[in-house]
């Protein structure tokens, strides 16, 4: 799986890493149980601080997407807890997207089609 980092983006780098790994797990590019690179290796490859990668991994671990241990490093969880609901932050984000889509004149049907397309991508 390829991660794209934009150094000039307003989104912090650790957040970009976290978001893309979540997207990767969701669309199947990262399989259950798949080994992730070590914090040090990924930081070296990206040319960023190890603390940044560590923060992204900690966030993913806290959210239940990955497991980390000293012996095996980080890997994608075999079973990801399905709460069947969106977090408050994601609900807020969804509302923001809907608002902007409405203001941009995007039709409701088209937006739903886009969501369906996103679900199909797996």
């Amino acid at each position: 799986m390829v991660i794209r980092i934009d150094e000039y983006s307003d989104v912090p780098i650790y957040q970009q890493i976290r978001d893309q790994i979540v997207m990767g797990i969701s669309d199947g590019r990262l399989r259950a149980g798949e080994q992730l690179p070590t914090v040090r290796a990924l930081a070296l490859e990206m040319g960023i601080n190890t603390m940044t990668v560590s923060k992204a991994y900690q966030s993913l671990k806290a959210e239940g997407y990955i497991l980390t241990d000293r012996k095996n490093g980080a890997r994608v969880r075999m079973e990801i807890a399905r709460s069947k609901e969106l977090s408050d932050a994601n609900l807020w984000e969804l509302k923001r997207i809907i608002s902007e889509a409405r203001l941009s004149g995007v039709d409701k049907k088209d937006l739903i089609a886009m969501i369906e397309e996103g679900y199909k991508e797996k």
Binding site: V2, I3, I5, D6, E7, G24, P37, L42, E45, G47
Partner: protein
């Protein structure tokens, strides 16, 4: 500088120039991933655009060939007309100027291509980096033992040379010269072999390039490129073994430093051959993977002149070179700034050395007798020989028949100055070897060979000393 030396210099620099043309001045830019520091994009093959790029590239290539022709011509003139004043300085300056000027058409082509990109409305997306999670730090091709073995062999040869020069044991036919020539030159070769190891490791460990969304493609592409790099490093390491062995055997059999030059020549030929093979293989790999290159970062604007990478938005220290082989540093990185400073100092020091060489070449040696002393003077060097301490002074003719080996000092056409050994005898020289006549002065603790600029002046000095 002799005719042979000048021709050797041209022979060594010319292939380097031709490699620069082959690597940096492509005939067919459409086959390259990067040309003139600009990353290839599909839009360049549009009608109208393609023709303009063709013209820019053809002009640059033509200028590079023209510069090469001028360099060879000047080199030949300097080789044939040895009596041109400052011949040595001009010869070195010719090489230096050629290497610097060869960059000019490249920089101009890069500037023109960037202007064309602006006209086309292509916006750079610098600051974006791609990393393949599955390929992280796992693609390496260098097997360290393949580099350590040649370095070990050179180390063994150095050890034997040292023991020979220390007279721990001796080989029939080899006479120790007392100034550790065999040891010092094999030590230089050993340092070359050792220096290759970290360079090869750094090249092998450099960041893997992401060319596709497909991790398998990325892994295969990087493995292929790194395999070529590793192969080139190993070939160069073995050429150091060939060079050391050739020199070693030459010194043992014929007792002449000429073999150092021949061995270095063989090393250069093998090294250039290895680079040519590497360049052609990398070109083939890039052609093979061109169709699969779906990920592209347009950071052309961050490449000053298409060759110096300065990107504050990129936290990496090393990136793949746009001109040449291997990796270069990001000069916006704190460590890159330090490296840049060191490079600037090195460049300045080289220029100062060139000026010093010119001064040495241009300043005549002066020997005068005053206040009961023979004073030899040139630039900052001054030898003072007390006449009262002179035990003998004799004229030496046919100086060129003597076996002269430099220990420390200058050995140039028209000037020999410093510590030397003549026929195995340690001495100090201050003479013009072109006139083939000098005075051997022996004092209680030192032997001097001195001469003035001409035969007449040297004879006059001898009469004065008598």
């Amino acid at each position: 500088m002799g005719l042979l030396m000048n021709l050797i210099m041209i022979g060594m620099v010319l292939p380097v120039g031709l490699i620069i043309i082959a690597v940096a001045y492509p005939k067919n830019w459409k086959k390259r991933k990067v040309f003139y520091g600009i990353r290839y994009q599909d839009g360049y093959e549009r009608e109208g655009i393609s023709d303009r790029i063709d013209t820019i590239c053809a002009n640059a290539r033509k200028k590079a060939f023209l510069l090469t022709g001028v360099f060879v011509l000047i080199g030949i003139v300097l080789a044939v007309f040895q009596n041109i004043p400052l011949n040595v300085t001009f010869s070195v300056l010719n090489v230096y100027a050629y290497m610097m000027l060869m960059l000019v058409p490249y920089i101009l082509a890069n500037k023109n291509l960037k202007n064309l990109k602006r006209e086309m409305g292509l916006v750079a997306n610098a600051g974006i980096t791609y990393t393949d999670l599955s390929g992280t730090s796992t693609v390496h091709a260098l097997k360290l033992p393949a580099l350590l073995l040649p370095a070990f062999l050179v180390a063994v040869e150095f050890g034997v040379a040292l023991l020979l020069d220390l007279k721990v044991f001796c080989i029939e036919g080899y006479t120790v010269d007392g100034i550790f020539t065999l040891t010092s030159i094999t030590l230089i070769y050993l340092l070359t072999a050792l220096m290759l190891i970290p360079i090869a490791v750094i090249m092998d460990r450099q960041k893997n390039e992401v060319i596709s969304e497909n991790s398998t493609v990325n892994a295969n592409y990087n493995r292929a490129i790194k395999k070529c790099l590793a192969g080139m490093s190993v070939a160069i390491a073995w050429s150091v073994v060939v060079m050391t062995t050739g020199f070693f055997a030459g010194m043992l059999l014929f007792q002449t430093e000429l073999f150092a030059m021949i061995a270095t020549g063989v090393f250069m030929v093998i090294m250039i051959g290895a680079i040519i093979v590497y360049v052609s293989r990398v070109r083939k790999i890039n052609e093979r993977y061109k169709e699969e290159m779906s990920v592209m970062v347009d950071d052309d604007d961050k490449w000053i002149g298409g060759m110096i990478y300065y990107n504050r938005g990129d936290k990496r220290l090393t990136v793949e070179k746009r001109m040449g082989i291997g990796a270069t540093v990001n000069f916006a990185h704190p460590v890159g700034k330090v490296i840049g400073g060191l490079l600037a100092v090195t460049l300045l020091a080289t220029l100062l050395c060139l000026v010093w060489l010119g001064l040495l070449d241009a300043t005549p040696i002066r020997i005068r007798v005053e206040d009961g002393r023979v004073v030899c003077h040139q630039l900052r060097d001054e030898y003072k020989i007390e006449i009262g301490q002179i035990q003998s002074a004799e004229l030496v003719e046919n100086f060129d028949e003597r076996k002269v080996v430099r220990s420390v000092g200058s050995n140039m056409p028209g000037l020999m100055k410093g510590r030397f050994t003549i026929d195995g005898e340690p001495c100090k020289l201050f003479l013009n070897p072109d006139i083939d006549l000098c005075i051997r002065i022996e004092t209680g603790d030192e032997v001097y060979y001195v001469s003035r600029e001409t035969v007449e002046e040297t004879r006059a000095l001898y009469e004065e000393l008598k």
